[in-house]
Amino acid sequence: MYSLSEQQIDFILRDIKSRGVEMEDLQVSLLDHICCIIECELEPGGDFESFYRKTVSRFFKKELREIEEETILLLTFKNYYAMKKTMIITGGTSVVGFIAGSFFKIMHWPGANVMLLLGITIASLVFLPLLFILKTKEANSTRDKIVLGVATFFGMLISLATLFKVLHWPYANNMWLISLGILFFIFLPIYFFSGIRNAETKINTITSSMLILFAGGLLFTLSNIRPSKQIVINNLYAYVQSEDLLKRMQERMSDSIKADALYSKINADCQKIKSLILQDETGIKAISTKYENLDESMFFTEGGLGGEFYDKGEGAQLLSDLQAAVVKYNASNSSAQIPVAYSVLDIDMSKIGQYTNLSVLNSMVRIQMFLASAEK
């Protein structure tokens, strides 16, 4: 039996540390283990150093650190099965929520939004990250891990973008376009060039890449649907005609109406709401009623109410002021009511996102016309 000196033991411990084993617990275990092997298997008076090198090289494939990495992996993944179970359950729940939610949505049944919200949120914030963690454990190369990471991020972002879009929340379009950008310019190149290098995966990679390109292209086409230019022009002229009509009506209005405080309040609120929307779409506060002045800079597409409207809640505040003023007006004018039902005057502020710029502009002009046409 070989007898180890204290210097030799120190030497072994130092060597273990220098090979990158940092967990003290593991250092101690390995030290004792190596000492045992040397004491039992080395002849007295044998060559300590070369025997030590030979012994320690049995412990790993490439470097001693592997043991520590494996230990950390096992410690981290002792919840592996719990994670897998959670992943399957959340995956199932979100698919059910999503399908049921979409179905309820197209049937216009209540509860659709809650189901979609739950389904998509669980899928993108719980299911996909878990899937990523578990899949990267199986992935061998860093490249595979990067591909998985980018794919997961894309999946999370595009599902959230869809959710935002469906619930009419702001920034949905930006998220949608950013996620498609990630798909086309980051994911696809990494996936494609890492896949075709390997003869085994070459054909699969090419076909999958084409499918991804095709599916992504379809999504992009969907995000880019714009009404034809003719419809845009028609809408604008119709709106300008209403403004023109309003102007003519207001010119013929009696001074007593103009002097009415409630009239001025409602009229001013409508004017402010319109200018918030127009400012965002065309950069000007009020549109000219001279038809020859309408040019391309004033064409705008039907869409959300825009940043100016939502900023600091100004638009919503004006709208709820307007609602209150109209209620007051209707109470004091039994003969000339402003219709409220099924209009922007009748809605809860949280649903304002469902209204488009054009519909609100037209609503405002009509309210002003009702005011102007009222005889006192």
Binding site: I9, S29, H33, F59, K61, L74, L75
Partner: protein, 117 residues
């Protein structure tokens, strides 16, 4: 991971924990080197557990509360003895009977005739 010799590593991979737990239920407390030597001895060198597989398993079993440890100072070094906790004892029984059941199933599935002698 790399348990080797005689049998393919896939075959042994899933059984390392079972082997360790069974040894500890028969021997009260053991340290790492002792476990590798015992397995070698009992299997006539057919199964040799590598250190690269053993220590990660021992540490994770300890973290799961299946093994408890006590340390003994031996000169300049520290020896860590592993033994089964109460939970570990039942886990050990479960693992062994699960494996016995598995072997019977495999025998049946692969149509292995018991060999005499």
């Amino acid at each position: 991971m790399y348990v080797y010799i005689m049998y393919s590593s896939e075959l042994i991979k899933g059984t390392l924990k079972t082997i360790v737990l069974k040894l500890l239920s028969d021997n009260q407390k053991m340290y790492g080197y002792e476990i590798t030597q015992k397995v070698k001895e009992l299997t006539g060198d057919k199964i040799q557990i590598t250190e690269g597989a053993l220590y990660p398993s021992l540490h994770s079993l300890e973290a799961e509360g299946i093994l408890s440890t006590e340390t003994v100072n031996i000169g300049k070094r520290v020896r860590k003895y592993y033994s089964l906790t109460k939970k570990g004892k039942s886990t050990s029984r479960e693992k062994v009977s699960e494996f016995a059941d598995f072997m019977n199933t495999m025998k049946f599935l692969l149509d292995i005739k018991p060999q005499l002698g």
